[in-house]
């Protein structure tokens, strides 16, 4: 949600800004998939579009596979877990002396849900043909959980003092574990 500093007339540049925002979202997702050195700079420019889209996609998938009566509840729970969870983890990291700003941290955590969203899509897509056994789901989700945690570790670890790193990373692992569990039991 960075200001469109070169946004001037209304019609054409708004289109350009939207395109640029979409490109930035794609760029950040790419860096989550392949976490490397430049990634911290990529996520300095925070936005909440990516997390919102990932969260909505995941909530839609998980609620479609829920029982009819529980669809709305499943949707709301996924939504609340992702947003409130990332807010709590962020506050924790900040209290531990991390030098990430609040929204930046929420942005990072939201983007790092991406691998788990992929797992949800894969399980959902395969599940429409033939429901997967939990022993097949488990390794897929575990792999993606590790991937999410690894990506967010790359972003967050450098911002928290060395001594307290584990205290900051542990809630992040739990946060993704809860989401991963939601994916497994879908």
């Amino acid at each position: 949600m960075n200001p469109p500093s070169s946004l001037n007339t209304l019609d054409e540049p708004v289109y350009q800004t939207i395109l640029r925002d979409i490109k930035t979202v794609g760029f950040k997702l790419y860096h989550v998939i392949l976490p490397r050195g430049k990634a911290v700079a990529a996520l300095r420019d925070w936005d909440l579009w990516g997390p919102l889209i990932l969260c909505l996609v995941m909530a839609i998938m998980l609620s479609t596979s829920a029982q009819d009566k529980q669809k709305a509840l499943a949707f709301a729970i996924v939504f609340v877990v992702i947003w409130c969870g990332s807010a709590i983890v962020t506050v924790n990291a900040q209290l531990l002396g991390g030098n990430l700003s609040f929204f930046q941290c929420v942005c990072v955590l939201g983007y790092c849900v991406f691998p788990l969203t992929i797992a949800t899509i894969v399980i959902f897509a395969v599940g429409t043909i033939k429901p997967l056994h939990i022993l097949i789901k488990l390794p897929i989700v575990a792999g993606c959980w590790f991937w999410s945690s690894f990506a967010s570790y790359g972003f967050l670890a450098s911002s928290v003092p060395d001594k307290r790193r584990i205290l900051a990373v542990y809630p992040v692992l739990l946060f993704y574990l809860v989401i991963a569990w939601l994916v497994v039991v879908q």
Partner: protein
């Protein structure tokens, strides 16, 4: 060479190629002949000689759309909770984006945004257009009315879903209120700064931030 950037400040150290189009189409500088006379602040409000009719429409449209979807999506259009939720959230975030990034700047010449520095600190910018920018009276009225009435409506929805312990619908209203108050706070700060601070300060602030932004973008 000096160019006028989109807030109307003269930007002398920018490279030309990036700024030529900015100069031509700055919203705060009336280049085209048709817009020259409409900058008059005394224009009677009953003459709909809007500077930015499309921005004004969208400023109101997304707010009304979000409220209508929230109210009628489930019961009248039969979309079901999930579809209503998604549509409301999308309308609310489109409205937030439009109000923050487009209409505030075009309708009243204010802008607020945030930049994360390299050391992780957050810097908030509250900018106002220079005195040469004169908002259209009616557009400015619509902007502020929309900004302040919108959260009042959502507050009613919030209280009604809170009192009926309707957890699912409460989420939507909380998000709508949070985003609406973010915009109110941002524009309130811009407006109070407009009355207190000198414009050179804001110009310095802005140019400084542009340099930081260019430096930041070279990292990526």
């Amino acid at each position: 060479m000096s160019f006028v950037n989109d807030l109307g400040f003269t930007d002398t150290n920018a490279n030309g190629s990036a700024n030529i189009d900015i100069n031509d189409s700055s919203p705060f500088i009336n280049n085209s002949g048709t817009m020259n006379n409409s900058g008059n602040i005394n224009a009677p409000p009953n003459v709909p000689n809007y500077h930015h009719p499309i921005a004004t429409i969208f400023h109101v449209l997304f707010k009304v759309a979000a409220i209508l979807v929230y109210l009628f999506g489930n019961f009248i259009f039969g979309l079901g909770f999930i579809m209503t939720f998604i549509l409301s959230i999308l309308m609310i975030s489109f409205d937030f984006w439009t109000t923050k990034n487009v209409t505030g700047r075009l309708l009243v010449g204010l802008r607020w945004w945030n930049q994360v520095m390299e050391d992780g600190t957050n810097v908030w910018y509250f900018e106002t257009a220079p005195k040469t920018f004169r908002p259209h009276q009616m557009e400015s009225l619509i902007f502020w009315m929309g900004l302040y009435i919108n959260p009042l409506v959502w507050l009613v929805f919030f209280l009604s879903s809170l009192l009926s312990l309707n957890f699912n619908w409460l989420i939507i209203t909380v998000i709508a209120l949070a985003l609406a108050f973010a915009n109110i706070y941002g524009y309130y700060k811009c407006n109070s700064k407009d009355k207190n601070a000198s414009h050179t300060n804001i110009a310095r602030n802005y140019i400084g931030s542009t340099i930081v932004k260019k430096a930041a973008s070279s990292f990526m």
